[in-house]
């Protein structure tokens, strides 16, 4: 139904540039998630797309049409706000039908459409209630209903689940995924939540400081981060970074000298790297294993048992603490001495400027880059 393109879009508040040139294509039917640290401009970008903030420079195109100067209600978008922003003095029915009422849709048709959406979201029993008499999850659904009823070509969500409790968040997340499948519309979704981003998205956009760091499928971002920032941002617990030195460079990859003397050979291509260069070795917790023959020795300082798995915080040296994923049944205790081995094939090497060295082989789940 609608594609969305951002062409070198910027936004300044006064002299302060918040969005510093964004180029992005969002395809039809896509579920695109914006992630990034707090204050990086996710909400601002979403609000610019919505038409609630004007665009300082650059072009915003919806279905090929430039819409920079179109008011919000004429862009064919609907937005779900973090605080739901329901109209407290109106019943659920009127809340959902408000846009139609303003568009002068006759009462009878309005009722039909409201009821259809209410059925879809299981809100039928609450139609005559005011938002104040609903639970958080029900309010959330009304907010989504208010967006759906306008049959927008693109949905915008700004952290829609952050006010829900954990269980409801999971449930609503699944409902959203199903809704996306059923409606088939394009969705743009801002979140802080790793899991939401990874599970919902076809495409994740990682923002930092008003710029795009990387765009890709969740698996692509997870397995092939283009730089240290994306590597540390995607994944929970975070990727470990080990300061190392290049020992040798060969066709098989880069051999990295670890603290404590061991080496690992990471299969990345390294045209611009030579022996002796300082690099950061990125290792995700699940790629560090407790192994008596491993090259890294240290002391367990924290044990986080989640039941199905255990995270060990291991102090290798006072300024290097690694998080290692272990089995749920791992018997290790705090103060135990352990050795860790590194799954070299899954490691990342980041050069001095933070850029990742390209892997020699793509991960099977991230083979076709966007």
């Amino acid at each position: 139904m609608a594609t969305l393109s951002l062409r070198n879009v910027t936004k300044s508040f006064g002299a302060l540039e918040i969005i510093k040139g964004i180029d992005l294509e969002i395809e039809d039917h896509e579920f695109c998630v914006f992630v990034g640290p707090s204050g990086c401009g996710k909400s601002t970008l979403l609000r610019m797309i919505a038409g609630l903030e004007d665009i300082t420079s650059g072009d915003l195109l919806i279905a090929g049409q430039k819409v920079n100067d179109l008011p919000p209600d004429e862009r064919g978008l609907a937005m779900v706000f973090q605080s739901y922003a329901l109209y407290p003095h109106m019943t659920v029915r009127d809340n959902m039908g408000f846009a139609l009422k303003l568009a002068k849709v006759p009462q009878a048709e309005r009722d039909v459409r409201v009821e259809r959406v209410a059925d879809l979201l299981e809100l039928r029993p609450y139609l005559e209630r005011k938002p104040g008499a609903l639970s958080g999850g029900q309010r959330q659904r009304v907010a989504i209903g208010r967006a759906i009823i306008r049959e927008p070509s693109i949905f915008l969500f700004d952290e829609p689940l952050s006010n829900l409790d954990a269980a409801l968040r999971v449930q609503t997340r699944i409902e959203l995924a199903r809704l996306h499948e059923r409606l088939g519309s394009t969705m743009i979704y801002v979140t802080h939540d790793q899991v939401e981003a990874m599970t919902l998205a076809n495409k994740i956009v990682v923002l930092r400081d008003g710029r795009i760091e990387q765009v890709g499928t969740p698996m692509e971002l997870y397995h092939h981060p283009v730089n240290r920032f994306v590597g540390s941002f995607i994944g929970s617990p975070k990727m470990n970074f080990i300061k190392g030195r290049v020992h040798s460079v060969s066709d098989a990859g880069v051999e990295v000298l670890l603290p404590g003397g061991g080496t690992v050979t990471v299969p990345v291509s390294a045209p611009a790297i030579a022996a002796g260069d300082d690099i950061d070795l990125g290792v995700r917790p699940e790629h560090l294993d407790v192994d008596d023959a491993g090259p890294l020795a240290g002391t367990v300082i924290v044990v986080e048992r989640l039941g199905n798995e255990t995270f060990l915080h291991v102090e290798i040296s006072p300024d290097l603490i690694l998080i290692a994923g272990a089995d749920g049944a791992c018997p290790l205790q705090v103060h135990d001495r352990v050795r860790l081995s590194v799954l070299a094939a899954a490691c990342h090497v980041f050069a001095g400027d933070g850029a990742a060295l390209p892997a020699l082989a793509r991960h099977p789940l991230a083979t076709n880059p966007i």
Partner: protein, 291 residues
Amino acid sequence: MATRSRDMRTGPLLAPAVGLLLFWMIVPLALTLWFSFQRYNLQNPLVTGFAGITNYKLLLSNARLWVSILNTLVLVGSVLVITVISGVFFAVIFDQDFWGRNVARLLVTAPFFIMPTVSALIWKNLLMHPVNGFFSYVSRWLGLPVVDWFVQVPMFSIIMIVSWQWVPFATLILVTAMQSLDREQLEAARMDGAKGFSMFWNITLPHLQRSISVVVMIECIFLLSVFAEILVTTSGGPGLATTNLSYFIYMRALLQWDVGGASAAGVIAIVLANIVAAFLIRTFAKNLERE
């Protein structure tokens, strides 16, 4: 939030304060009631004793009382309408960002801090005076006939003065209410296609409804007893044109020295105030409930 029932009996702790307030209220009320059934005129100390309902009979058959009740209602009603409409208007205006907003806000608020007598004098002598007043100056400049406000449109003049004093109150309350209007709600409404008047009518006004009720209730209490403005400007005249109930009582008590009759009128005023209060509470109280 649920209020928890306490284990301790709070009655004895509250009793002194409640008792004092009750005493404070009951004594004047009882005295007024008592006097209203007495023959008691300060100019004629020989006529004394229990009057039965004579004072009330005389009053209720007195057309002046009914005129003053009507005047009271007209005054209260008009001022309420004017202040609420202007208050909403200013609240919406001051919610926008414009150059000089703080100064404008100060100017709109200022009349509230002027004593009623002083503001009445300002209006009487500086603005509405048929010879020296600013309004007459303007009409002369425009070549229009000069209006002698307190003679030609006395009630309207009083309404203007009292409204001028009470617009700031309505504005203050409603500006505060505007600030609590959720910005995301406004943005959601914008996404839904509301703008200009439809935004005001569907979002802003319903949001202000509760505060408007508060303004109406509080103003009512004060407007029922407007006095200084009338005393200073028209003294209730010409004829009875601007005599409201409190001015009527004043005339009875302190111009005719009829304590009995004035007390009876006072009791009637209390009844009237209660009728108005009951009416207000029926109309507005449900707005004050939580949504």
